[in-house]
C-alpha cells in the first residue's frame, strides 16, 4: 500500500490577533505560531496507522520552502518513510487549482494507491485541493472522511454529514481522501524523535520535476484571484457587559431570568 499525504504549514490564528500588513496584501506573520495544518496532521496519522496494519510506505509532500522542512521532518518522525518538498516560489499566491497541479506532478512521480489530505487548511479553508486533485488525476474521491477500511482494490469510507449523521461509501482505488479532524488521535513526536530523522534526505522538486511550465501556476495563472483583504465589518456587535466577575455574573443571571431560563 503506497500512500501519499499532502500537508501544509499554516499559522495558528485561533487565539492570536490577526493583523493586516500595511500593504494590505497579507497578514503580519511575526507573532504567529506556525505548524502543520491540523487536518493534515490527522491525515498523516491515519496513513501511518494504515501502513502499520497493512504494510507499505507513506510519503508526505508539501509545497514549501526551507522553513517548511520542520513539518516534513515531524511527519518522518511520526513514521512516514519519505518526504518530498516542492519548491514554493513558483506557486506563490496560487489558488487551490495551482496547488493541485503541483501535487498532481508529485503523484505522477510515484505509484500511489491512496492520496490523503486534510479536508481544508486552517488559514484559507477552501476545502478544494483534495477533490480537485482527484479530478485532475481521474481518481475517485471522498471528503470529510471519518473512517477508512481498505478492502483489496477498494476502500470503504465513512463521511461526516450534518447533524451527527454519517454515510458510508465504497470507492475503487486509487482514491483521494480528504480527512476530517477527530478520525484518530495523532501520536506525540518528541524532539529526540525528530532528531533521529534529521539526516534523512528530502528531495526538493522544481517546477519541471512536477511536469509544469512557468506560468501554469502562481498568481498569474489563478482562476481565483485575491483582490483585497479586509477586517470584517463590526456589524451588530454584541452588547458588552463590563464589571467585576461578580457584577457580570449578576447581570447574566438577570438576563437569563428575563428570557425564560430559570436560574
Amino acid at each position: 500500500m503506497e500512500i501519499l499525504v499532502c500537508v501544509k504549514k499554516v499559522p495558528d490564528t485561533a487565539d492570536a490577533e490577526v493583523v493586516l500588513r500595511p500593504d494590505g496584501r497579507g497578514i503580519k506573520e511575526e507573532d504567529l505560531a506556525f505548524g502543520i495544518n491540523e487536518w493534515d496532521n490527522y491525515a498523516v496519522e491515519e496513513a501511518i496507522r494504515i501502513k502499520e496494519t497493512l504494510g507499505g510506505r507513506v510519503t508526505v509532500a508539501t509545497i514549501g520552502s526551507a522553513d517548511s522542512e520542520d513539518v516534513l521532518r515531524r511527519c518522518l518522525a511520526m513514521g512516514a518513510d519519505e518526504a518530498i518538498m516542492v519548491e514554493a516560489a513558483p506557486f506563490k499566491g496560487s489558488d487551490p487549482y495551482g496547488i493541485a497541479k503541483g501535487l498532481r506532478g508529485v503523484v505522477a512521480k510515484g505509484s500511489y494507491d491512496l492520496v490523503l489530505a486534510g479536508v481544508q487548511a486552517g488559514d484559507d479553508g477552501f476545502g478544494m485541493v483534495a477533490p480537485v486533485l482527484a479530478g485532475y488525476l481521474g481518481w475517485t474521491h471522498a471528503t470529510l472522511v471519518t473512517s477508512i477500511s481498505l478492502e483489496g482494490a477498494k476502500v470503504a469510507v465513512t463521511r461526516e454529514l450534518e447533524g451527527g449523521l454519517e454515510e458510508t461509501l465504497r470507492l475503487a482505488l486509487p482514491a483521494v481522501l480528504a480527512i476530517q479532524t477527530g478520525i484518530n488521535e495523532p501520536r506525540y513526536v518528541s524532539i529526540m524523535g525528530i532528531r533521529k530523522v534529521r539526516s534523512k534526505a528530502i528531495p526538493v522538486l522544481d517546477l519541471a520535476a512536477v511536469g509544469l511550465a512557468a506560468g501554469e501556476v502562481g498568481e498569474s495563472a489563478n482562476m481565483l484571484r485575491e483582490i483585497g483583504l479586509a477586517v470584517p465589518p463590526a456589524g451588530t456587535e454584541a452588547e458588552m457587559i463590563r464589571g467585576t466577575p461578580a457584577e457580570v455574573a449578576q447581570k447574566i443571571l438577570d438576563i437569563i431570568r428575563e428570557r425564560g431560563g430559570v436560574a
Binding site: 495558528d12 485561533a14 487565539d15 492570536a16 490577533e17 507573532d31 504567529l32 505560531a33 506556525f34 505548524g35 511520526m78 488521535e185 501520536r187 506525540y188 513526536v189 518528541s190 524532539i191 529526540m192 524523535g193 525528530i194 532528531r195 533521529k196
Partner: protein, 658 residues
Amino acid sequence: MQPYREVFWNIGYHYIFYSLAGLATAIFLYGLARRWRLWRSGWLEKRSGSFDWKLVLQRIFLNASIFKGDPLGGITHICIMWGFIVLFLGTALSTVDHWIISYLRGGLYLVYAFVLDMAGAALMAGIALAYLRRYVFKRERMVTVVRDHVVLILLFFIALTGFMVEGFRLRAQTLQWHEPSPVGQWIASVSGLSVPGARLAHRLTWWVHSLSSLFFIAYFPFSKFIHVFAAPVNVTLEGMGFNPFLTLEEREALKSDFSFRQLIMLDACTQCNRCTVVCPSSIARETLKPRAVIDEVGRFVRRKSGFGFLPGRAGDASLPKARAVEGDPVWFCTTCSHCYRECPVAISPMDVIREIRTARVEGGEDVPVNVQEMLESVYKFKNPWQGAKGKRMDWATGLDVPLLQEGVADSRCFYVGCTFAYDSRLQEVPRAAVAIFKAAGYGFGVLGKDEVCCSEFVRGVGEDGLFTELAGQNLDAFARYGVREIVTPCPHGFHTFSNEYRRMAPPMGGRTVRHVSQVLEELISSGAVHLASCGERTVTYHDPCFLGRRNGVYDAPRNVLKSIPGVRLVEMKRSRERSLCCGGGGGRMWIEAGEGEKIAEIRVREAAATGAGTIVTACPFCFTNLDDAVKTAGFEGTVVVKDLTELVAESLERRSAG
C-alpha cells in the same frame, strides 16, 4: 602459654572445608562480578560539585540518615551493621593470623575475643530488635517481603550457631586463661554437656555454622545483602556530586537505559519505604509508590540483563525502558524530590522515574493526552498554555515596563514566566513585582515577546529534546542582551536557570539567578522599600518544592513575611524540607489526578489547621493548585491564597495612599 585460639581445633576434614570455602568464595566473587558488570553497563554521569565527605561519613559510618526520624531503626541497623562488620573483620584477622603471621596472642587475643563476642551479641540483639520493631511495635511504614526474612533469619542463625560453637568449645577445652567471651562462657555453663559431649556438639555446630556461613557468602551478591556494597558506593558517588543531566548529543549517544549510578541505586535499596511515606502521590493514595518503582525497575533491569545465579541466562533484551514500570504510576510523580531527601542511602526514585518518562515520550506511547498537548503547545507556541506570542506582554498593559531590547541598567532580566504572563489571575503578580521594583528604584528589564518557556517541567516529563531547544532560545536571548542577573517569580524557572541551564550552551557564565523572594528580602532589609500594615492577618507559608526542597531557599520568603507589619507567620506541621508538595510539579498540572482527595486538598487542610486565614505561595503552580483546592475542599471564605509578591505590593500601596 599465651592466650590464643587454635583454628580448626577438634575439626577434621579441613580439605572439605577449604574446597567448600573456595567454592563459596568463587561464587561470591562471580556474583559480585556480575553485579559490577550490570552496574557498569550504565552510562557514566558527570561530576558537578565537590566532594562532600561529611555526607559520606555521617551516612555510611554513623547511619545518621537511618536514625533521622526513627531512632529505633537507627539502633537496630547500627547494631546489625557494625556487629556484622566486626565479626567479618574478626574472621579476616583470624585467617591472617592462621595463614600468614601469628599475632593474635595474649592480651591482644583476649581483647579480640571480647570484642567479637560483643559484636555477635550486638548483631543478634539488632536482629531481635528488628523483629520486635516489625511485629510488636508494628511500625506503619514497614513493608514485609519474604526475602527480608531469609536475610535476617540466616544472619541470626549464623550468629547463634557461632556462639554455640564458641560455647561448646569453651566447655570442651581446658584453657589456662579465662577467655573474656561472656556469651560463649554463658552457653558453656548452661550447656549441661560433658566434655566429650561438648566436643561432639562443638564439631556438629561448627560444620553447621561453617556451611551456613559459606552459603551466606555465596548467596550474598545475589540477594538483598548487595546493598552492603551498593549503598555505600551510592552515597559516595552522591557525596562526589554526580548528576544525571545530559546534553542532547550525549543523550542520543547513550547505549544503555540507566546510568551507572541509577543501577547502583536499584541495588542499594532495602525497601525501607521511607520514600513512599513522604511521597505526595502516595499520601493522596494514588498508584505511585517510589519504593515499588525502585523494586519494579530493579527486577526489570535484572530480567533484561539476564542477571541471575545461573550463568548465561539471557534476559529479554528487547524490552524497552518504557516498560520498566507498568501503567500510570510513572506519570504521578511531581518531582518534588522528597523521596530522594528522605532516603538514607541517597537513592532518587524521582530520577529513575524521569528516565522512564524519557523513553515513553520518545516512543510517543503511553503519554497522557494532556501532556502531549502541553508539549505540542510548548513546541508551537513556546509556552504550555497555547498563548499567542503577541499576547505574552499583555500583563504589562499600561505599566511602562522596560524592555531589555532597549538597554537596561544593571542588565538585570526580570523573567516573568509563562503562567504569570498568560493566566489572568496570576498576571497580578508580575504587576505587583514591577510596582515594587519601581518604588525601590530597582533596575530591571523584560525579554518581552522573546521570552520563551523555561521548560523545567518539559524536562520533568522527559522531553529533553524540547527542553534543550527552548532553553537554548532563552540562553541566546540572555547572551544577546548581555544579561548579568536573572530575577524570576517562578521557582521552576529559578530552578532550571540555576541548575540545568548552567550545563548548557551558550554558557550562563557568572550570571546570578535569584527568585523574587530573595530580591524582596534584600529590598526590604536595605530599606529600599517601606511597608505599612494592611491589617492584622495570620498567614502560613507554603514552601514551593522548586524553591525550598530542591534549591534550599526557605528563609528569604519567611523573612519577607515577617517584615510585613501586621502579619503573623505560623508554620504548618510539614514545612521547609518536609513541606508537602502542592501536586503541580513534574507536569502534573496537565495530568489528571487520581480519584479521591487531591494532594492540594490535603495540603489546604493542613494549612487551615494552623488557624491561618491566608496561605502564602511563591509559585504559580502552587497558587493555582491551592486556590482550586480551597474551593473544592470547601474552605472558601475561611482561607484565601495569596502570592508573596502581591502581599508585599499591597503593603506598599497602602503606604503611598496614606
